[in-house]
Amino acid sequence: MASLLVVPRRTPSALRAIVQPAATRSLSTPAPSPQASTSTSSDSPSEPNTHYRITLRRSAISLGERKKGTLVALGIHRRMQTVYHLHNPETAGKILALKELVEVENVPASAVRTKTEQKWERKAPRGFVVVRNSIPQRS
């Protein structure tokens, strides 16, 4: 008779994992400090501002297909979405076409975040980080 593999049931008390309180999530680079003003952020001499940080604050509903097309061109799909674009005259013109709807800030290249990175920074931390488990984990 083949021996059955008995797996011990895991109870909450048995899982004596040693946990630590977690800080905010961070993906790769640390998040920019919340000291930037609305129009331009302070740049140290070594970090020139190279990007526009564009956030849609008011929708373009019933403003016509041209303005909606400008939003599509900027890559903005919904209100409160933030996108980053390099400084160039094309983007400047698009921003000025939507100047009543949009909030703009000049940021350095280190502050640019992709969609995934922004989502990661928005997520609330778990409240703990598992440092090690007293029970050997199944590999």
Binding site: N49, P89, L96, K99, E103
Partner: protein, 105 residues
């Protein structure tokens, strides 16, 4: 019978739609806020150092603190007495730039 857009009933005497002829002080404060926000956007684009035709035209617009209150809260209207009407009568006035009116009106 209820709602924003009610038909005028033949039985009742007058109009069922009423808007005030001028903005309240709250609305005026909001108008000033919106103008300042647009000024901030134009300033951010100017500070980026990029040059384009749209920026040249935007910089010709008066800033909020340079504007007359008359221009902030009313627009030129050829049909009204005094040739001015409240800016809140302009469709989508909260999302449109209207700072300059014909000279002398």
């Amino acid at each position: 019978m209820f709602g924003a857009f009610r038909p005028t009933a033949s039985v009742s005497v007058g109009l069922l739609w009423k808007t005030p002829w001028r903005l309240s002080r709250t609305r005026k404060a909001n108008v000033r806020d919106r103008l300042k926000k647009v000024d901030a956007v134009i300033e951010a684009v100017r500070a980026s150092g990029v040059e384009c035709g749209a920026l040249a035209r935007a910089l010709e617009l008066p800033k909020e603190h340079e504007m007359d209150p008359k221009d902030k809260y009313t627009v030129f209207s050829p049909h009204d007495r005094g040739y001015r009407k409240g800016i809140h009568k302009v469709p989508k006035f909260t999302r449109i730039t209207h700072r300059v009116n014909p000279k002398g009106f």
